[in-house]
Subunit: 375 residues, 4 copies
């Protein structure tokens, strides 16, 4: 009864050691959600702030995103005591998925969309993968991540730790540079395209609109900062802050690259230009003179701001015709992906990157740190 | 609001679930080495091939590397039966470190070198970190990784899986492009600077020599391919091949960025240009028409070659004077790092990237796959 | 010398590496449930069999258990495709908890019940633990375990593996001995007190009734068998079948001891009596001549039936007055636990032990074995 | 190249999350040893105390143990800085194995010894297991555990935590009972048979001598106490102190059962007799009135002494003839195990149980606790 192919199983939807988030659901399953272990007991989440954070990710029907609107209302199934505080038990949150029109799933199942996981999931799960709306590979699964990240941010804030991201580029259009040593996080706009330079933002919007009009899509880069992170977090070799952040960020759909500090640009520099010197300052003690290292040396935080960037590929769902195959017939096919899709996933992914970064940082603190307090 | 200091402990030197490698040692400890769990019983390592692989990483006193020469002779302490085959028990390998001249460690301990982990390790371990030769942060710790990777490669080879890397760029000088769908791995030179275009290689050598002459250093990018990896490996969300490879590759000292397929370049493209169509071929069944996805879709292998790139910062040890501080006196200092250092770590890091990739791929196969055999 | 308090967090409700079950909920939370990772894709659970298995655990208002009746209807929130098959995504199941009468929780919170986790949870979670109905420590949390175990059993059955348990003793009354080498699992009664000797069963029922009448409770031992488990499963030292089964079984509330084969009785025997010889049999090849080792030697299965026993303490909730304290006032108090409680948890725990054993065995097979199939 | 049997690999020799010990070696490999991660930086081990602790486990040629004498001298290969303090890097320790006489291993390999792992290891590793001296299943592998435990004890001591075990019974002869609430650990004799009642100890010695004279062996029970453990350690469900201690203790060869507090005896009691009441005491605040719960309620420590017992089977190596088989010929055989063996492993296992308990407790403190300090 034992077969010799790969196991048709996965155990991969959980992240974190001491702040641990397990995401469940598929795009069209009855629910999506997550179970969070590691929330300190006695913490009363500010649900209004959670909802407004999650709203940044949800499609709003605007020019940047899909025409779909989703009201992602998290329902807490467990983990709170009678006073609404965390009680030490796992917190399970779910979002009920709306009813979806019945479709000819057999057709969808047969012709894999280029750039999507349709083909690889078909191989891995031997045809049993859920193809409805992208199944477990849908970007919709980032909603529970945002929930877990919003809680982590509320727990990080009293420690003086702030996580904020911006669109660094879309379609090759770069936002203005920011000082990595003293990033001005308040300069990031709070609209649906968070940048620091409004004009560049307008250019990005135009590029998105143009791609949409042509049935095409564009990608971009998100840059995330974390300030107030104390020095000494993270561990050598495989337990470094880079290892953990990268291992988590690649869990966001469409991420193809992750870099820290100057990242790939560092590869072209000389050491004398790249190294960050140290100096003694009156008020802060020892500080770095620049932050090309992005707040991490040897996997360990230096006390300077964390700087991480994630590259997002262009949305694979496009209206233009593409070459594909029929899995059942073994024939070449042409496919146009119908439906309402984001012409660029980057703006909505900004809070997702923040959420994942917050989850990782809070997990690092719980795993390596002393008993921490949120109050 | 953080109520105590961080734990002065680390548990971070181990990687892999079912092919698990724990690296131990410091640059000047009596030994460095590793313990490997998960080697299939009955496997007889080809030690000659292991040694020649490890020799690619060892400094050879040539123009590209440090003037030091190290003969890294692995000694196997456990894990083999009386016939020299793996027996199912953990295999412990150690390399005896040579005698090191006594030094004034107090001076080294006091002034952290820019770009190194001296400062962050000092904070984390409250001054007890081993500063001799970089301690546990030394690039020397990649020797045991190469040992473990060499064994993994010997186990992957009979499955038709081959892992090979090249220098993609040094100091901004790019090697010739390679077809990601059908990479010609045999075109990579087998000398101490593995490239495909000999002229670009000479330019890189010149850039390294120039930096060395000026007491400076340069960085670069390494590109690694794995061919023959079957489709269906890797898991959704946090268990994807990208997550695991990135989480491992950032364990190599000096890596600042990791990308797959087109990586950061994908962020500037349109979907119609980036998506890889599918087609039916006579002999291979379904294949992709291009490999911008680098062999991974949704975290799962597509059967196309894996393509991953890692950016290395310039060697932080440089002879030029740099600004630093005295940790004991709280004063500003100027530091010139004496001694023999690699002006560019990239050439010697090529086998390290291959080793880490092989470890991760073999671990994926053992973790997700059926019982595999090397014969 | 301990410099701060413990973290008020827990990350402990998950078990299994490749068949991984995360249990969530508290007795009076909106829901209890579990998320299962590792179900092979394409498996269609037989929900009728799941429900009938879960019914064995649920209180039925009979003589053996609490007067409460609970209809535990599992609702699947995710993990199935449009055909009702597992799709490779985590399967989330929840059971809606009934409405509970409002109570004066402050009183419950103030006086910890002897034998319960009230006091230790109060210390750990600094007073934020959920005390309603035992919170996360409630035996009610074993319902999701039974769900996950029922699925594991359906996946084990086609491999010829069967898991069955019986009440070995209650209140010191022992069921008839069973041959550990060739256990007759069909001889175990399928009523609400699974034993092989009906008369001993009647004696046990009488002992339970007597304890109930006196406002007291009794404990017992459950013995679990697994037949058809192939030789070679389990790993040396800390990955042994005993380690994993014991590590899981102690997760069932009220378990105070776990033993394998002859268990504690082995400590009183001589080696010549305890050792199980080997012989060659015509049809089965090499077999053991007896099974004092309970199917495990060196942590690895021998192919003989697994035999494991778990000791359950008497239900701590009793009507008789007990000494306790007021946490708020720091005074001695007398407490009588009102309400409807099981005078003996052992009969209802029989399927829970089976479920946990099935989860562990199926996880061992997925973790160590080749890709397995249920069909 | 993929086969369909179980994987012939193991990843099981490591225990602990934040104080993590990986044991390597086989009985006749060049070395045995361990790698410890999680030692706090700046700790200077007292090697004299380590050696005297390890000496309690080593065979001394006396009446209780094998006639072999082993001088287990730990050599530290990594993990210390130039001042002999832990530096945050993994500490690797090895013990060089003595030269062993060449033997006819083929004969040993062919006829599995009853009660040993010979047969199961043969199946698992397809005949490649190391059979020399028991290979990786040898009790000799407990020497590195004692090393790691000795360090843990030195780190626990300044926190006021003490771990001590005794022989509770051998061959059915029971040592005197001890008050579980206020155990007098100083009453345990410090000779090679640690008991509290010298006369019972003499009876045990006589039973061992008698078994030895008859070419047979005896088993026994070890009882371990840990005092000073603060309340609130351990986590619900699968992260409980019982789960972790049991999961570790079954890693000691020959352990067949583990129980806490009253253990299996609790199963025969009524709740009114078993429940431990609480009271307020002037000096200690809230305490339990008895300790049938063995210091653990709901998986969480109560502040009362931890009490755990492990049952050891009789040494399987006996001189008396036993039935076995020839694996190569498929014939029945008679086997007498020659050589020098412990007629009872229990006395030498006492420090091993202490070591494992100390490792688990220290790991719990690092994992769940705040930054702790040993000074």
């Amino acid at each position: 009864m034992i077969t010799d192919a790969w196991e048709v199983t996965s155990v991969s939807n959980r992240i974190g050691e001491r702040y641990s988030v397990l995401v469940f659901g598929q795009s069209h399953a009855p629910s999506i959600g997550c179970v969070i272990e590691g929330l300190p007991a006695g913490f009363k989440p500010d649900m209004d702030r959670v909802l407004s954070f999650m709203a940044r990710r949800a499609p709003n029907g605007g020019a940047l995103s899909t025409a779909r609107k989703e009201a992602d209302i998290p329902e807490i199934l467990s983990g709170l005591n009678e006073r609404g505080e965390t009680c030490g038990a796992p917190l399970c949150m779910r979002i009920v998925n709306g009813d979806h029109r019945s479709k000819d799933y057999d057709a969808l199942r047969d012709v894999p969309r280029p750039g999507h996981a349709d083909y690889t999931a078909h191989v891995k799960y031997r045809g049993a993968n859920d193809i409805r709306g992208g199944g477990q590979f849908s970007g919709r699964l980032t909603a529970p991540l945002c929930f877990a990240g919003a809680l982590a941010m509320q727990l990080l804030a009293p420690m003086g730790i702030r996580v904020a991201a911006r669109v660094r580029s879309i379609a090759g259009i770069e936002d203005a540079p920011m000082d990595m040593l003293r990033p001005d996080l308040d300069a990031i706009s709070s609209d649906d395209l968070p940048v620091t330079d409004a004009e560049r933002g307008r250019d990005m919007r135009a590029a998105i609109a143009e791609a949409r009009a042509e049935g095409d899509s564009v990608g971009g880069v998100i840059e995330c900062f974390a300030t107030g992170v104390p020095a000494g977090l993270g561990e050598p070799m495989f337990g470094g802050v880079e290892n953990k952040l990268a291992g988590a960020l690649f869990g966001i759909p469409a991420v193809r690259g992750v870099e820290f500090g100057l990242g790939f640009a560092a590869a072209g520099l000389r050491g004398s230009r790249h190294n960050d010197g140290f100096a003694v300052s009156e008020d802060k003690g020892i500080t770095a003179l620049s932050n090309n290292h992005g707040g991490i040396l040897g996997g360990i935080t230096s006390g300077m701001p964390l700087v991480v960037r994630a590259a997002f590929k262009p949305t694979p769902s496009i209206g233009l015709p593409q070459r594909s195959v029929s899995l059942s017939r073994g024939t070449d096919e042409t496919l146009s992906v119908a439906g309402r899709h984001d012409p660029c996933i980057v703006p909505r992914a900004v809070p997702v990157v923040e959420a994942v970064a917050a989850i990782v940082i809070y997990d690092l603190i719980l795993t390596e740190g002393s008993g921490t307090s949120w109050s």
